[in-house]
């Protein structure tokens, strides 16, 4: 029988990922290693040009087994789906586990902002959230990852040595005592492990 702590650590409900420069390739590597019916929703903020359309979601959708789609406002967040933030909108998680959008000011020069997603998701999912920072050129996401850690969630950062652009992972590691610093190829497998433990338990 599992101990209480064990269970609370393993019972995850969602994964959030933040990335900017170099993110497309990194996301493809991770998503490729996840099964079609991955047990958790994966929610992504990727910094993109404000006038880009949904090409990012389409490219990701073509390169993995899970369904990848742009998040809609009021949409119910469900398992086995990868959601991407629409360009030029902040993506937020509401208490009833639906999305909302906002065109509020940029944060850390970014809209969508990783911090906005991570902090609102941490408020809702608490310890049942996995937060991941990947390659990127600025320091958006560090505060969000810190909030996830404070709420008891699991934090993962791509090993800066393996990142196309290392400033975002480095800043995240400096801001929080993260749980795992991993080369890109190992992030997908650990997500599988976390979600499987949950299914088995």
């Amino acid at each position: 029988m599992k101990s209480r702590t064990d269970k609370s650590i393993l019972n995850f409900e969602a994964v959030v990922i933040g990335t900017s420069a170099g993110g497309m390739n990194a996301l493809q590597v991770i998503l490729k290693s996840l099964p079609r019916y991955f047990a958790l929703p994966v929610i992504i903020v990727q910094h993109l040009h404000p006038n880009s359309d949904d090409y990012s979601a389409r490219i990701l959708n073509d390169s993995c087994k899970m369904i990848v789609k742009q998040a809609n406002e009021k949409e119910k967040i469900g398992p086995g789906v990868v959601y991407t933030a629409p360009p030029n909108y902040h993506l937020l998680v509401e208490e009833n586990k639906t999305f909302s959008l906002s065109i509020a000011e940029r944060e850390k020069y970014a809209r969508p902002s990783i911090n906005v997603l991570f902090e609102t998701a941490a408020d809702v999912y608490g310890a049942k959230l996995i937060g991941i920072i990947l390659t990127g050129a600025n320091n958006d996401g560090s505060e969000g990852l810190k909030r996830i850690k404070e709420k008891g969630g699991l934090t993962i950062v791509q090993d800066p040595e393996t990142a196309e652009v290392d400033s975002m992972p480095r800043d995240a590691i400096a801001a929080t005592k993260v749980d795992y610093i991993l080369p890109l190829e190992q992030i997908g497998p650990i997500l599988r492990k976390m979600s499987q433990k949950q299914e088995d338990g």
């Binding site: 406002e73 009021k74 909302s100 959008l101 065109i103 509020a104 609102t120 408020d123």
Partner: protein, 274 residues
């Protein structure tokens, strides 16, 4: 019902207090965004917690005005989403040209950039003289700014590019006068715009419009309030009037979806059924 943490209880109480004291109703706003703004205000205020801040809000009107300003999201630009304006020009304007007189309501106009964009478009299409634009917002501070029509020169480059992508026919520089860091919108564009106070959460119908533009406002409302607003728009539109929403706002899941048909689906331009 699971116990809420103090912060969420305090936010609920604060929104109730604002409604009772000042009549502004944010209780049906999507909560995550409003929570972020409250916590931001809290960190600036120096108060220990939201309950403490609520006390000041009730007794200090100036403080409330500041919070109110931070609640309304005033991020806007001229010809925001150029493709939308291009669709208006190419698809909607030809229909509007057949009408003898036009009434247009721009709900949630913020500091006026999109109302002036519309005025420019109408002018270039020869409709300006027979149009009346009603541009409304619940916030008096932004309405005052909108009336002044003064923008930062820093944004002119972006606006010019938007204007061109939106199918602009003239030189964008004809529509403003720049002086030092400021650009002032040409007075001729103000002639047919009335800026007025209107609150979508509490106020009622604004009659017989040929077109209503309300972009990136509904995303802040919960489902019930969204339906209220869409019903309000429906009742404020003339038969076959146009409803224009923001690029991520959709009538598909609305209780009133059958009252409208898609006119340019991709740009969220709808038309009231007859």
């Amino acid at each position: 019902m699971p116990a809420k943490d103090n912060e969420n209880i305090e936010i609920q109480l604060l929104l109730e207090a604002i409604y009772l004291k000042y009549g502004y109703d944010f209780r049906s706003y999507a909560r995550a965004s409003i929570k972020r703004r409250i916590l931001h205000m809290l960190s600036l205020s120096g108060h220990k917690n939201i309950s403490e801040m609520q006390h000041q809000l009730l007794y200090d009107t100036d403080f409330f005005d500041k919070l109110l300003l931070s609640f309304s999201i005033n991020v806007t630009e001229m010809f925001r989403d150029p493709k939308f304006y291009k669709s208006i020009r190419e698809k909607v304007i030809p229909v509007l040209k057949t009408y003898p007189f036009l009434k247009i309501w721009h709900a949630g106009c913020s500091t006026g950039e999109e109302a002036y964009s519309l005025a420019i478009l109408l002018k270039e299409e020869g409709l300006h003289e027979k149009s009346q634009i009603y541009a409304t917002d619940f916030n008096e501070v932004v309405l005052k700014k909108a009336k002044e029509g003064i923008f930062s020169v820093d944004r002119i480059k972006e606006y010019t590019s938007n204007y061109q992508k939106a199918g602009g026919k003239e030189s964008f520089a004809d529509y403003y006068t720049a002086r030092y860091e400021l650009a002032k919108i040409d007075n001729s564009l103000k002639k047919n715009i009335v800026f007025a106070d209107h609150n979508l959460t509490t106020d009622s119908v604004f009659g017989e419009m040929n077109m209503i533009m309300c972009r990136n406002v509904l995303i802040y409302f919960n489902k019930e309030l969204q339906d209220r607003a869409i019903n309000l728009f429906h009742n404020s539109l003339a038969h076959f009037g146009f409803l224009c929403l923001g690029s991520k706002e959709d009538l598909r899941f609305s209780a009133h979806k059958d009252d409208f048909e898609e006119f340019v689906a991709k740009e969220r331009i709808y038309r009231k059924r007859g």
